[in-house]
C-alpha cells in the first residue's frame, strides 16, 4: 500500500533513523534522503539543542515520528502530560503518521523502558485497541503500531502473535508498522513460520515497514540493530513487499553506528527488492 489512510496518504520512499552521530554530516552536507524517522522521546523536551537540531532538519527533510513509550498494552491509562508533550511535537514536525509499539512497558507509573511482549488474549486486545483509539483521537494523527521482537511467551495467550496484531488493529482501526526483522527474530525465538506471519496480517493496513540487523546467539536471536540487514530478513522483506505493495521503508541502526553513507547505502538496498515486487503481480 504505497499511500493509504494509515500513513496519511503519503508515498514516502526509503528512510533512515535520525541519529546523533550523523547530525553534523546531515546539517553540513545536506545529503538527499527520502525521509528521516525520529524517536519522539528524544525531542519531547522543553528546549535546548535537541529542538534546534530538529528545526534545522525539518527545514530540509520530511520527518516521521516513531515512539518507544506510549505502551499501548500497559494497563495504566495514558498519561495526559506525556500526550500533551507528544501532541506539541506532532504539531512541530507535521508528521503524516505516528508509530509506536504493540507492547507494554510500565505499570503503576513505573517504567521499564523496554518493549515487553503482550499476552495474546482477547481482553488485552480490547484494552489495547481502546487505548490506541484514545491516543489517536487526542493526537489527531494516523497511528501505526509496530510488532516487537520478543524472547518470551505467556501461558495465558489465546492466539498467535499475528492473530493478536490483527485483532488489535481491526478493533482500533489503525495501521501497522510491519517490522520484518522483528518478525524474523521472534520466529526464530519461538519457532513459528515468519512467512505465515506476513501472510496472516491485514495487508491493506500496513503503512510502513522496518528492516534492521540482529545478532544470533547459540539459543536465541537478539534484536540489536547494530549490523547490516541479514539475507533472510531481506528475503522476508521482499515477500512482505509483494504482499503489501511498495511501502515506506526505514532501516534502523541504533548501535555501533557507522558513517551516514554506510547506513544510507544499506537502506537503499531495499530498492532491489522493491523493484522485484513492482515487476511481480501482487498476490491476494
Amino acid at each position: 500500500m504505497p499511500a493509504n489512510r494509515f500513513n496519511g496518504h503519503t508515498d514516502y520512499g526509503i528512510g533512515i533513523g535520525l541519529r546523533v552521530p550523523h547530525y553534523s554530516h546531515i546539517l553540513e552536507k545536506k545529503p538527499v534522503v527520502d525521509w528521516f524517522e525520529i524517536i519522539s522521546e528524544n525531542f519531547m523536551v522543553d528546549g535546548g539543542r535537541p529542538l534546534e537540531v530538529l528545526d534545522d532538519i525539518l527545514e530540509q527533510y520530511r520527518v516521521v515520528q516513531h515512539g518507544v513509550s506510549l505502551y499501548f498494552g500497559s494497563a495504566d491509562k495514558p498519561d495526559r502530560a506525556h500526550l500533551k508533550k507528544l501532541k506539541a511535537l506532532v504539531k512541530r514536525t507535521q508528521t503524516p503518521w505516528l508509530s509506536d509499539h504493540l507492547c507494554w512497558g510500565s505499570v503503576d507509573g513505573t517504567y521499564t523502558h523496554d518493549l515487553l511482549p503482550m499476552p495474546y488474549t482477547f481482553a488485552t486486545a480490547k484494552h489495547t485497541a481502546a487505548k490506541i483509539r484514545m491516543v489517536r483521537d487526542y493526537l489527531e494523527v494516523p497511528i501505526c503500531v509496530e510488532n516487537v521482537s520478543s524472547y518470551a511467551e505467556f501461558h495465558v495467550s489465546e492466539m498467535t502473535e499475528w492473530e493478536f496484531l490483527t485483532e488489535v488493529v481491526e478493533r482500533a482501526d489503525c495501521g501497522i508498522l510491519l517490522d520484518v526483522n522483528n518478525i524474523y527474530v521472534s520466529a526464530q525465538n519461538h519457532g513459528f513460520n515468519p512467512y505465515a506471519y506476513v501472510d496472516g496480517v491485514p495487508h491493506h493496513r500496513v503503512g510502513q515497514m522496518h528492516v534492521a540487523g540482529h545478532t544470533k546467539f547459540e539459543k536465541y536471536i537478539l534484536d540489536t540493530h547494530d549490523h547490516p540487514v541479514l539475507d533472510p530478513v531481506w528475503k522476508l522483506y521482499a515477500h512482505a513487499t509483494k504482499r503489501c505493495g511498495v511501502t515506506a521503508t526505514l532501516l534502523e541502526w541504533d548501535d555501533k553506528i557507522p558513517s551516514f553513507r554506510e547506513v544510507h547505502d544499506e537502506a537503499l538496498k531495499a530498492n532491489e527488492f522493491i523493484d522485484g515486487a513492482k515487476k511481480a503481480p501482487r498476490r491476494k
Binding site: 523536551v45 539543542r49 505499570v107 513505573t110 523502558h113 518470551a152 501461558h155
Partner: protein, 310 residues
C-alpha cells in the same frame, strides 16, 4: 532474600493470573513481570534464584512464562532482567562520568543498582533517570563512604548539566521591564535551565578533567579492546576541598559552567527564591559597589538568565 522496596510499584500477586479476563488481571501479570525485571542481577549477572517470597524463581517463572526447546522460562525471564539492567546502567554510565571516576566502576555500579532498585524510573523518558540520584546518595551514605558529600556534589553537578541541556526557557527580561517596575516590587525569575550550585569542591574542574581523560582514552582505544583500555585508565586525584559558586547554564544551546563570586551567587539565589530585586541585591551583602552590581546584572541579562516572573 532481599526484598525490593521500589518506590511507586505495588506488590505483585502471589501467583500470576491463569486467565486474563479483566484489566485488573492484566495489571497483576504486568506487576509480576515488572517486579522480576527490576530486581538487581546476581554477582554473575543472572536472575536471582529466589522470588520475593522465597520460592524458587524457576517455579515462579514457569507459572506464567512458557519454556521452549532451547530456553527455560527462567532463562527467558533472565534475558529481560539483564536487558533492563544493562540498558539503565548504560544510561547512568553515560550521564555520570564524574561520579563514576570518583567512585570507581564497581562502587558506581553498586550505587546505581541500589538507587534504581529504590527509585525505578517514573518517567516516560530515560532523560530523567538520574533526577533523584543526589538525594539517594544522601539517604544511603554508606554506599559512597567515605566520600559521600563529594559524591553528592558531583551528582548534583552532573544532573544540572542534563537540565541545562534541554530544559525549557522563558522570555527574558528587557530594559523596559526594569523601567516599568520599582526595584522594591520587581520580581525577577531565572531561566529554568539555569542551576546554581555551591559545592565544597571544584567539581567543574574535576569533571572537565575526567571528560578530557576519557576522550583521550577513546581516541587511543581504537587498536585495543575496551577491557584492556579500562585497566590502563589513569586514576585522577580526587579534588581538594574548596568552596566554589557555580552557574550551570546554556548559551546559544551550548552547555557552559560559570564560576561566580559569592555575592553574585547570593543575589541570584535570592532571585531564584522569589525575593524582589531590592531584597535580592541586599542579600549579596553590604559594601557591594553599585557599579559592580550593575555590571553583573548587565552580564546576566546578556546571557539571558533573567526573566520576568509571571
Amino acid at each position: 532474600m532481599s526484598r525490593i522496596l521500589a518506590t511507586g510499584l505495588k506488590a505483585p500477586p502471589r501467583h500470576a493470573p491463569r486467565k486474563l479476563a479483566t484489566t485488573a488481571d492484566v495489571v497483576q501479570l504486568q506487576r509480576m513481570l515488572t517486579h522480576a525485571l527490576v530486581r538487581p542481577l546476581t554477582r554473575d549477572e543472572g536472575l536471582q534464584e529466589k522470588w520475593l517470597d522465597g520460592r524458587p524463581m524457576a517455579e515462579v517463572a514457569d507459572g506464567f512464562i512458557k519454556s521452549n526447546d532451547r530456553l527455560t522460562a527462567f532463562e527467558r525471564l533472565q534475558l529481560y532482567n539483564r536487558m533492563y539492567w544493562f540498558r539503565l546502567l548504560d544510561v547512568m554510565h553515560d550521564d555520570n562520568p564524574g561520579l563514576r571516576a570518583l567512585l570507581g566502576d564497581r562502587k558506581f555500579v553498586k550505587l546505581i543498582e541500589a538507587y534504581l532498585a529504590k527509585y525505578p524510573s517514573r518517567s516516560f523518558t530515560l532523560r530523567n533517570l538520574g533526577s533523584r540520584l543526589a538525594q539517594f546518595i544522601g539517604e544511603q551514605p554508606r554506599l559512597t563512604a567515605p566520600h559521600t558529600a563529594l559524591a553528592r556534589a558531583v551528582a548534583r553537578f552532573e544532573w544540572a548539566q542534563t537540565v541545562a541541556f534541554d530544559a525549557g526557557s522563558i522570555p527574558v527580561l528587557t530594559a523596559a521591564d526594569l523601567k516599568l517596575t520599582p526595584p522594591s516590587r520587581l520580581k525577577i525569575a531565572l531561566q529554568p535551565y539555569l542551576s546554581l550550585l555551591a559545592p565544597g569542591w571544584p567539581v567543574d574542574d574535576y569533571v572537565i578533567a575526567v571528560k578530557r581523560r576519557d576522550a583521550l582514552r577513546t581516541e587511543a582505544s581504537n587498536a585495543v579492546d575496551s577491557a584492556r583500555a579500562t585497566k590502563r585508565r589513569r586514576q585522577l586525584p580526587r579534588p581538594c576541598r574548596g568552596r566554589i559558586y557555580l552557574a550551570v547554564h546554556r548559551y546559544h544551546n551550548r552547555l557552559f559552567y560559570k564560576r561566580l563570586e559569592r555575592p553574585a551567587f547570593l543575589i541570584l539565589a535570592a532571585l531564584a527564591a522569589g525575593r524582589p530585586l531590592a531584597a535580592a541585591v541586599a542579600a549579596g551583602g553590604c559594601g557591594l559597589r553599585p557599579a559592580q552590581v550593575s555590571q553583573w546584572f548587565a552580564l546576566w541579562m546578556e546571557l539571558g538568565w533573567l526573566c520576568r516572573q509571571e
